[in-house]
Amino acid sequence: MLDVWLSGLQGILQVRELLFLALGMVIGLLFGAIPGLGGSTALALLMPFTYGLESFAALALSGGVMGAVPMGGSISAILLNAPGTAPSAATCLDGYPLARQGKAGLAIGAAASANSVGGIIGTVTVLAVLPIAKRLVLLFGPPEFFLLAVLGLVVVATTSRGKLLRGLITGGFGLMVAFIGYDDITGDVRFTLGIPYLWDGVHLVPALIGLFAVAEMIDLSIRGGSVAREAGNVRITRTLSGVLATFRHWRTVLRGSIIGTVVGAIPGVGGVVASFLSYSLTVQASRDPESFGKGNIEGVIAPEAAINAKDGSALIPTLAFGIPGGAEMAVFLGILVLHGMQPGPMMLIQHQPEIYGLIWALTAACILASFIGLLFVRPLALVTLVPAEILVPVITCIALVGSFAVDASIENTVVTAVFGVLGYIMIRFDYPRLTIVIALVLGATAERNFHQAMLMADGSWSIFVTRTISLILLAGIAALPCLPILRARLRRGRGSGPVSAGDQR
């Protein structure tokens, strides 16, 4: 086993491969930071270029891109509330409030270190489970996917404490939006108003760019000033304490990494679920849940650890069965095929050195990208001081162009604009955006898999209790809403009040 790991490492540790890794990393950081572009666009553009490369070089290049994209994505999420990639939308929730308080350095520092640690934990887990990966993937079928989606929805619903009704309203609205489009099971077309674009439903990335970036720019242009205007003085120098915060909150990092690894390995669920689930569970577990959404550093660490841990394990379904976890993996699959590596059960046997090389490349890119992120914290954080008159038009343009670039359709920009206004209304009237995002992501998955489970079982609900993993998930769903009540009881029993969550100064 060890010799295969090492031969993979050897394949990557060549001058040429390292150069391609570095190139991929820079591209990944840039594409990750620009909303709408992300890893899939970067890989798609690089694809013809990899055609002429040897497989290790191509893998180093793609690994560099995929490992660095999350860091780029979180930088723009923190500084501008504009998630560069869909999973980093979760980082906006607390990262951006920190930036507004002038603590962008702290947030980016924490994101960078959580990134690296998450990446390493993810890699270790993948190396450990790769030999049994095939069986692992086969354990999850439609009933399990459905219950996982429900679990995700329940977790998020129970997170919006204090705003439960508002959370349910936005969650319900998100679900209705998620149900728009062509139904793959019945062949029916729902709420598409005769517009072919809506056949595939409301696209997630344009909607997220609207909900976060555009909404924020509307808000900023009305408020005036700059992102960190209220902060008085911007303390960029706190980067180091941000880095250390990750280690202080090691439980959050570990939780996030495990969630990321597990969710990543389940095909078709994807990074958005990983980051939001990690965020929600961290809020659940916190002794000071009220401080989240207002700039709690744990709210940055949790999603960041999950996003990077997920990258490694997302390779499992992609390589073992050719089922990509998301758009980025789909393009990466194409690059593999171009290089004569057909994903499938044989891939894990025939191309072991390449697979391990790729995993090493991913990990190295993730750690190095964090360092680069840290190096540029100071100039980057100055963005939060740019006056609204300059920042708003620039970011709005980038957001709309990025949204168009997702798949070159002009309709995306309309979606972004509509969700931008909606997002602003939500900010203005204090409705949580977490629930709408998770509903948008999981709505269609839940519906499709429920349908499939029913088809499998001829309409009998017993399928959810006769399969072991389903049963465990059901128990989890039933237990979750009881958790906060239980914890409140326990705390009252101990007679101690809530303790501040650390970095809330």
């Binding site: 899939s40 890989l43 798609a44 694809m47 013809p48 055609y51 095939k134 993937v137 086969l138 079928g141 439609p142 062509y182 139904d183 793959d184 099971i185 019945t186 062949g187 072919p196 674009y197 056949w199 595939d200 095909p267 078709g268 069965f321 050719g322 089922i323 990509p324 758009a327 789909a330 393009v331 990466f332 699959l333 194409g334 690059i335 095929v337 171009l338 004569g340 057909q342 994903p343 499938g344 059960p345 044989m346 046997i349 798949d407 070159a408 359709s409 499709r448 898999n449 349908h451 499939q452 088809l455 499998m456």
Partner: protein, 324 residues
């Protein structure tokens, strides 16, 4: 596989087309700018890879040096790309790859906004045959076993949704084989529903042979029938052995076309470059490495292939789209 005489004929045709193309270029000045090659899929899909492998080779055989730019237009089960090509100016600067019968089935359902028979067909890249497989641990060992099972309850096949090519292929094949079928639909792509069958979500799966073969090599899937007239998968029953030669008509053609009304000279240039690209050593090496079937056809043959597919699926229309 097609008879090799066809390949010889094509090879002979290439020279003639190339000469015509040279003459045509002198007359039209085509191409003078980059050509968009539209792909009805996102980057990374099967059609995408075909185009990305062929485009650079095609560039070599155009009379002047321009780029052929792979352009992904995914969405609405291929309809978005088809509409874009259909409405583009017929000047040769927009061409696209089509999933036949997939996209025809969209047209058949009505209101699709394009008419395939009016497009200017340039040729065929390849063709895939279908087969039937079960999970490695399944007790089912032959089509006869499935037929027996079908006597007790409908046999469950995993598949994409009603807009998918495999969905319709499954319905037709099951009907031809006298198997009462129930489809578990909604999977996200061919790998996804094949894994569904391996996992035991359903009893069996019907899809294109290369996808099945890939999973079968890893000892996770068993191919029990190959719908070709003569099976290329060892141990699988073929259309003749099953006594249903019509099964061999269930195929997936990858055809290339330009918008309706493309001038004849430009059509000759593009079709010539395509045929020569498909015979290019680089493309052939790529196809071999990736297990893609390249089986070229000229523009007239491609148009005929489309007509025969339309005829086949029109015959099955009442069965595939029963009035609800």
């Amino acid at each position: 596989m097609r008879p090799s005489t066809r390949r010889v004929l094509i090879a002979a045709g290439v020279a003639a087309i190339a000469m015509l193309a040279g003459v045509a270029h002198a007359a039209t000045g085509f191409p003078a700018k980059d050509i968009a090659f539209i792909i009805p899929d996102g980057p990374g899909g099967g059609f995408d890879l075909d185009v990305r492998a062929i485009a650079p080779a095609m560039e070599k055989y155009l009379p002047s040096k321009v780029n052929i730019v792979p352009t992904n237009v995914p969405g609405a089960a291929g309809t978005r790309a088809a509409i874009e090509i259909y409405r583009a100016k017929p000047d040769g600067y927009t061409i696209g790859i089509f999933n036949i019968p997939g996209i025809y089935l969209q047209q058949q359902r009505g209101g699709a906004g394009f008419d395939l028979t009016r497009l200017s067909w340039l040729g065929r890249v390849g063709i895939d045959n279908y087969g039937l497989a079960v999970g490695e641990s399944s007790p089912i060992r032959s089509v006869a076993d499935l037929q027996a099972l079908s006597q007790t309850r409908p046999v469950k096949f995993t598949s994409t949704g009603p807009a998918g090519t495999a969905y319709n292929a499954t319905l037709i094949a099951a009907n031809l084989l006298d198997i009462k079928a129930q489809l578990i639909t909604g999977y996200r792509g061919s790998s996804d529903y094949v894994v569904g069958a391996i996992r035991g979500d359903g009893d069996a799966v019907i899809t294109v042979i290369p996808t099945l073969r890939r999973m079968a090599e890893g000892k996770t899937l068993r191919i029990i029938a190959d719908f070709e007239e003569r099976a290329s998968v060892s141990g699988a029953e073929d259309a003749v052995a099953l006594g249903k030669p019509e099964l061999a008509q269930i195929v997936l053609d990858r055809l290339i076309a330009a918008p309706p009304g493309l001038p004849e000279e430009i059509r000759a240039i593009l079709a010539g470059a395509l045929v020569r690209a498909l015979a290019d050593s680089q493309v052939i090496a790529w196809a071999k490495e990736t297990d893609s079937t390249i089986s070229p056809e000229s523009s007239d043959q491609a148009a005929a292939t489309l007509r025969s597919q339309i005829e086949f699926y029109d015959k099955w229309k009442p069965f595939l789209n029963p009035k609800r």
